[in-house]
C-alpha cells in the first residue's frame, strides 16, 4: 500500500506539472517561442492571487474569477508590446528578452513582497481527504487540482481543434505569411495565444500557492518541470504533455520515497533517460 500511495501522490502532483507545461507548449506550438519567464509568471500569478484574496477577503479558488482575466490581459499586452518584436528566424532575441523578463519579475516580486515564503489559505478543503480503499487516502485538494489539470488540457484541446480561434492558431503556426493573406492579423493571434497561455498560468499559480509555500525565487524550477513534461510527452501533443507531467510527478515521488534529497534529481534523470532513448518524446506530434 505504501507504493500505491507514493505513485498516487506522484500522479496528482503530475497534474500540476502538466499545467506548468500546457501554457509553455501552447506558446511554442503557435509561435515557436520558448518563454523563459513562464515559471516566474506562474509565481507572479500566485502573488496576484495573494493581493486579490487579501484585498477582497475572498478564498483563493474564488479569486480565479479575477486572477485569470488579469493575467490574460498582462499576457496580451506583453506579447503585443514586447514579444512580437522578437519573433523571427533568430532564436536569441525571444530567449534573451524572456530571460530579462524573468530577472525583472523575480527581483520585482522580491522588492514588493520580500523573500519570505507564503501560502494561500483555502480553509477546510485543505485537510479533507477521501478514503479509496483501506490504507489509501487521497486529499480533496490534490484531487481537485488533478481534475482541473485534465479539464484545462481538454479545454485547450477543444479550443485548438474545434473553434475558430484554434483554427487561427493552427493556421498561423503552419504558415504565418499565408495566414496573413487570409486576413488574420498575426500580431493579434500571437497576443491571444499569450493571453490564453497566461490564463492557464493564472490557474496554475493559484493551485501552486494553495498547495505549497511559494517565494519569488521559485519560478525557474517551475519552468524546468514544465519543460521536462513537454519533452517527455512529445512536442505539440497536449495529451502527451499530460502524460509527461504524470511521468515526471511519479518519478519525483519515487525518488523522494527512496531518499528525500533525490526527489528533484529523480525527475531530471527520468527526463534525461527519455531524451537518451526516445528524443522525440513518448507521443510526438510535430517534428522540429
Amino acid at each position: 500500500m505504501d507504493w500505491v500511495n507514493v505513485i498516487l501522490q506522484g500522479v496528482l502532483v503530475g497534474g500540476l506539472y502538466a499545467m506548468f507545461a500546457a501554457g509553455l507548449s501552447l506558446i511554442f506550438g503557435v509561435m515557436r517561442l520558448v518563454n523563459i519567464a513562464h515559471g516566474d509568471l506562474i509565481v507572479m500569478a500566485a502573488y496576484v492571487a495573494l493581493v486579490v484574496t487579501q484585498t477582497l477577503g475572498i478564498g483563493p479558488l474564488t479569486s480565479l474569477i479575477l486572477v485569470v482575466p488579469i493575467m490574460a490581459v498582462i499576457g496580451y499586452a506583453l506579447q503585443w508590446f514586447v514579444l512580437n518584436r522578437t519573433l523571427g528566424d533568430d532564436l536569441l532575441p525571444p530567449l534573451l528578452v524572456t530571460f530579462g523578463l524573468s530577472v525583472i519579475i523575480q527581483n520585482g516580486l522580491l522588492t514588493l513582497f520580500t523573500a519570505d515564503s507564503l501560502k494561500l489559505q483555502s480553509g477546510d478543503i485543505e485537510v479533507a481527504t477521501i478514503r479509496l480503499v483501506e490504507g489509501v487516502y487521497v486529499g480533496v485538494l490534490p484531487l481537485l487540482q488533478f481534475v482541473v489539470a485534465v479539464a484545462v488540457i481538454a479545454g485547450l484541446q477543444f479550443v485548438f481543434y474545434r473553434t475558430a480561434l484554434g483554427r487561427a492558431f493552427r493556421a498561423t503556426a503552419d504558415d504565418p505569411a499565408v495566414a496573413q493573406l487570409m486576413g488574420l492579423d498575426n500580431r493579434h493571434v500571437f497576443a491571444l495565444a499569450m493571453a490564453l497561455s497566461l490564463a492557464v498560468v493564472a490557474i496554475t499559480g493559484v493551485f501552486l500557492a494553495v498547495r505549497a509555500n511559494f517565494d519569488p525565487s521559485q519560478g525557474p524550477a517551475r519552468l524546468i518541470y514544465g519543460f521536462e513534461a513537454v519533452i517527455i510527452g512529445g512536442l505539440g501533443s497536449l495529451w502527451g504533455t499530460l502524460a509527461g507531467g504524470l511521468i515526471l510527478g511519479v518519478a519525483q515521488a519515487i525518488g523522494a520515497h527512496i531518499n528525500p534529497g533525490w526527489q528533484i534529481l529523480a525527475g531530471h534523470i527520468a527526463f534525461l533517460f527519455v531524451l537518451a532513448v526516445r528524443p522525440q518524446g513518448l507521443f510526438p506530434k510535430v517534428r522540429t
Binding site: 515557436r32 520558448v34 536569441l92 530577472v103 525583472i104 527581483n107 534525461l272 522540429t288
Partner: protein
C-alpha cells in the same frame, strides 16, 4: 596561404586593417599596465580587476558558443560549478596543489562535456538552451549530495592548502591576480587563433547558413561539438579560479544561473554578440552599472534586465556593433581580406 594565378599574380589572405593595428597596439599597452597592477593598485583593485577578467573570459566563451557556433546555452553554469567542484575535490581530497588543479579541472570537465554533448545535442534551438540548464541543475543537485565536500552547504579550502600556494597573503593575492590575467589573455588569444584558423572560417560559415556550410563540405555537427567541448574546458578553468579566489564553494553559488549565465548573456548582448570585442565592452558597461547602482540591490538587477531587453530590441548588434558600423573599428585582426600581389622580379 598563397596561390599562383595564371596572370602571374599571387593571391594571399591578409588579416586585419589599419584599425586592428591600432587596436593590437592598444591591447599590448593596456596588457602591460594591467600586468603591473599589483604595483599601482590596492587589494580591492586587484579583486575587482580579477572579477572583471573572469566575466570577460566567461562572456567571450559564451560568445564563441552562441555568437559563432549558434549554440545558445543557458547552462554554462554547469561548467563553472564543475570546474570549481573539481578544483576543491582535487585540492581537499586528492592533495593536489590548487594551481595545478586549475588546468586539471578544465581537462576533466572537457571530458565530462563529451557525453553531455551527446545528450543535449539531441535538442535543437530553444530546447537545446533549456536542456543545458537542466544538465546544470543535475550537476548542482549531485554536488549537494557529495557529503565529503559539505553537501548542500558547501565547503572551504583548508588553511594548509591556501598557505601552500604562497607563504604570505600579499603574494597569494599577486599570484591569483596574475593567473586571472593570464587566463583571460589565453582565452582571448585562443579564440582569436581559433577564428583565424580553418575552423574559424567554418564557424562563420555555419553562423551565416548551416545549409550552405554543409554544402561546402563542413561537418557542422562535429564543428559544433568541438566548440562546445573547448568552451567547457575554458569555462571550467575560469570557474575553478573564481572559487579558488573565494576560497569557498557551495552548490547554489557555483551553479548559479543568474551569476554565471544570465549576467554573462546580458554582457554579451549589450556589448555585441558575434564579435570578439563585444564581451569586453559589455563587461565594462556591466561593472560601471554595478559600481554605481549596486546599492539599489534588486532594482539594479531589474535595470540590468531592462537594459539588456532594450539593447536586444533596438540595437541587436550591441554597442560594439554600432561603433563598427559607424567607424569601422576593429581591435583584433580577424577580418579576412584577399590581397592580390604582383610577382615582381624585385623579390629575387
Amino acid at each position: 596561404m598563397s596561390a599562383k594565378t595564371s596572370a602571374g599574380k599571387g593571391v594571399r589572405v591578409a588579416f586585419g586593417s589599419r584599425w586592428s593595428h591600432v587596436g593590437t597596439a592598444l591591447c599590448a599597452v593596456s596588457l602591460i599596465a594591467l600586468a603591473a597592477a599589483p604595483f599601482w593598485g590596492g587589494r580591492d583593485d586587484l579583486q575587482l580587476l580579477s572579477e572583471i577578467y573572469a566575466y570577460v573570459a566567461l562572456a567571450s566563451l559564451w560568445n564563441l558558443l552562441a555568437g559563432y557556433a549558434g549554440l545558445v546555452s543557458v547552462g554554462q553554469q554547469a561548467y563553472v560549478g564543475l570546474g570549481a567542484y573539481i578544483l576543491f575535490a582535487l585540492a581537499i581530497l586528492g592533495g593536489v596543489s590548487p594551481l595545478w588543479a586549475i588546468p586539471l579541472s578544465g581537462v576533466i570537465s572537457a571530458a565530462i562535456a563529451i557525453p553531455v554533448a551527446a545528450l543535449v545535442f539531441r535538442l535543437r534551438g530553444h530546447y537545446f538552451a533549456i536542456g543545458t540548464w537542466i544538465v546544470a541543475e543535475v550537476f548542482r543537485l549531485l554536488a549537494s549530495q557529495v557529503s565529503l565536500l559539505g553537501g548542500g552547504s558547501g565547503t572551504s579550502l583548508l588553511a594548509a592548502v591556501v598557505i601552500g600556494m604562497a607563504p604570505t597573503r600579499q603574494l597569494r593575492d599577486f599570484l591569483l591576480y596574475w593567473i586571472a590575467l593570464a587566463l583571460v589573455v589565453v582565452v582571448l588569444a585562443t579564440i582569436v587563433l581559433l577564428l583565424r584558423s580553418r575552423y574559424g572560417l567554418a564557424l562563420k560559415a555555419i553562423r551565416d547558413s548551416e545549409l550552405a556550410a554543409t554544402c561546402n563540405g563542413i561537418d557542422v555537427r562535429r564543428t559544433k561539438v568541438l566548440v562546445y567541448i573547448v568552451t567547457a574546458f575554458g569555462t571550467a578553468m575560469v570557474g575553478a579560479l573564481i572559487f579558488l579566489q573565494k576560497l569557498r564553494v557551495s552548490p547554489d553559488a557555483a551553479f548559479s544561473v543568474n551569476d554565471w549565465t544570465a549576467f554573462v548573456i546580458f554582457i554579451t548582448v549589450i556589448g555585441g554578440i558575434g564579435r570578439i570585442e563585444g564581451p569586453i565592452i559589455g563587461t565594462i558597461v556591466f561593472f560601471v552599472l554595478r559600481q554605481t547602482l549596486a546599492d539599489l540591490g534588486t532594482i539594479y538587477l531589474m535595470m540590468l534586465g531592462l537594459v539588456a531587453i532594450l539593447v536586444m530590441l533596438t540595437t541587436p548588434k550591441g554597442l560594439w556593433g554600432l561603433l563598427v558600423e559607424r567607424f569601422g573599428w576593429q581591435v583584433f585582426p580577424l577580418e579576412r581580406k584577399v590581397v592580390f600581389e604582383e610577382r615582381s622580379a624585385a623579390r629575387e
